[in-house]
Every structure is written in C-alpha cells, then in structure tokens.
C-alpha cells in the first residue's frame, strides 16, 4: 500500500464485514510515533482466527475469508520497528475487535499516512448505516468526527447523501488546517 490511510480503509472494511454497528478509528501521534487503532463492536474472532489473520500463509484455511489486509499492515508497521496487535472477543457479552498498529515515523521505511480524509469518506459512503468515530490527535489537539452527533442533527437523512458527504469532507479538511503540525 502506498499510504497508511489505504491500510486503514482496508482494515476498517473488516469491521463492517464483522457486522459492527460502531467503528472507531483513532490516530495518535507523538514526535516519534504514530499509533493507529481500529476498534469495532463486530462479531469478533477466536484466538485461532486472530492467529490466522496475522499470518495467513501458515494457516490451513480452506476458504478465502482471510486475506492479506492485516499482514500488509503488519509489514508496514514492522518495517519501521513498530508492531501490530489484535485483541478480539467473540463472546456474546463483549464481542468486538481492536487492531492496534505502532509506527516509528522517523524511520526511513515509514509509509506516509496520505489522504486520510478520502479514507473516512469512502468508509462512510460504503457503510452509511453504521456509526463511525474518527479521532486524530497530535500536539495536544485533535480532529474528531462522530457520525452519531451528525445523525442526531440529520434525522432521516442518510450519511451517504451527497451534501452530507461533502460536509464531512470539508469539516475534516478544516479540522486538519487547524491541527498543529508535528515535527
């Protein structure tokens, strides 16, 4: 993947497929690191399934339900000296999955984040019926979007209505203009 935002788009699609009703994408930056967390309340995975999405070539899977998405994210993180962790529960009481990827931004093999706004709008366009929470924090400030707040104002108007999609894009662009740069 040329941009980490493409990995995020890819991984968050798994949350949609897992039947999540809320997906949170959290980006947290320090001077040296970028942490990407994708947390959902979808159906979750068993420990064996978590193992298999991490390393699909070592499984005995017979279906094509597991792909290269997580390994590509893992590769992108590990080539900067970082790592990927997956915590998941398939228990009825607290089902869901949290994927956490740590990147060292100053490493020569760090992939730039790229067009994260397009990733957020593509995700909402693809699954307008569920809720999305996006938070990008950096230097004590943050860009935040929570579709639950939008829905409270929009009522019956769906999130993928074009005017709404444009508002979301513009809102995020304004948020990024106000976000302090990180060295």
């Amino acid at each position: 993947m040329k941009e980490l935002s493409l990995n995020i788009l890819d991984i968050a699609q798994n949350s949609v497929k897992a039947g999540a009703t809320l997906v949170e994408i959290q980006l947290t930056e320090t001077a040296e690191t970028l942490t990407i967390r994708i947390v959902d309340n979808g159906c979750g995975m068993t420990a064996a399934q978590v193992e298999s999405v991490m390393d699909p070539f070592f499984t005995t899977r017979t279906t094509r339900s597991v792909g290269l998405g997580v390994p590509l994210l893992k590769l992108a993180a590990e080539q900067t000296g970082g790592s990927v962790e997956i915590a998941s529960s398939a228990e009825a009481a607290d089902h869901g999955t949290a994927v956490t990827a740590l990147f060292y931004k100053n490493h020569i093999d760090f992939t730039p984040l790229g067009d994260i706004i397009s990733t957020v709008t593509a995700l909402i366009q693809g699954a307008p019926g569920i809720d999305w929470r996006f938070v990008h924090s950096r230097g004590g400030d943050a860009v935040t979007l929570d579709t639950r707040e939008l829905r409270a104002v929009l009522g019956d108007v769906p999130l993928d209505q074009y005017d709404v999609m444009q508002w979301i894009g513009d809102y995020l662009r304004e948020g990024y203009e106000a976000l302090p740069a990180c060295e």
Binding site: L9, G67, L150, V153, L154, D160
Partner: protein
C-alpha cells in the same frame, strides 16, 4: 467554519424531497474495494464516481456502491455497471480519468466504452 447548523439546513432542504436510497437507481455502479482493489487505486476511482455522478446530476438514476473482491485481482481497480435488462459491464484497470469518461459516455450517453472492459482484455 463547518457547523452542525449546516447539517440541519441539509435536513431541512431534504424534507420535501424523496430521499434516494441505495438500489433506487436504474443503474448501479459497483467499485471493488477489497485489499486488491484498494492497493491498485480503487479509492480515487470510487471518489471520482461519487463526485462525478452527483456533479453531472445523475444521482437520481445512478447509485454508486462498494463491494469486496470480484476475483480478478490482476485487473483491479475493477468497476461493474449493472443496468436492468442489460448485460453487466466490467471495466478494468480503472483510473479517475477513465471514470470521468465512463460517466460521460456510458452513464450519460448509454455508450459502453469497449476498450476499458474485461471482454476486450480477454479477447
């Protein structure tokens, strides 16, 4: 600054309109957005269709949606166009520029761009 008040205005504006829901269009444009598609550049292609269809005023007859892996990863980004009573058209190796052409010639003009289809590639 963008405010929630603008969303309230959108809601107000939409109140008297029939809100378009997925599947209401006569033409369905489906963009493959699995790992293979995304890696090959499907995101800007999706954006080009979403924006182009709305800017060209086609939103009442064309819906744009996303799907997983279509199974021809070597031809990604892949876009399928479904239209009632017509054969499915599969466009391959799409770009935002090709998307603009498909909107103009195919979605607006009803003319399939044969050069961009999988049929052509396999011929």
């Amino acid at each position: 600054m963008k405010s929630l008040a603008e969303l309230a205005a959108i809601r107000e504006k939409m109140k008297d309109k029939v809100i378009l829901r997925e599947g209401s269009g006569e033409i369905r444009v489906v963009v493959g957005m699995a790992t293979c598609g995304i890696a090959a550049g499907a995101r800007p292609v999706l954006n080009a269709f979403v924006e182009g269809v709305n800017k060209e005023g086609l939103a009442d007859k064309v819906t744009v949606s996303q799907t997983g892996c279509i199974g021809v990863c070597q031809f990604e980004p892949v876009v399928e166009v479904f239209e009632a009573d017509k054969e499915k058209v599969t466009y391959i190796k799409m770009t935002p520029e090709k998307a603009a052409e498909v909107i103009e010639k195919h979605l607006k003009g009803g003319q399939v761009i044969a050069d961009y289809t999988i049929t052509k590639a396999l011929a």
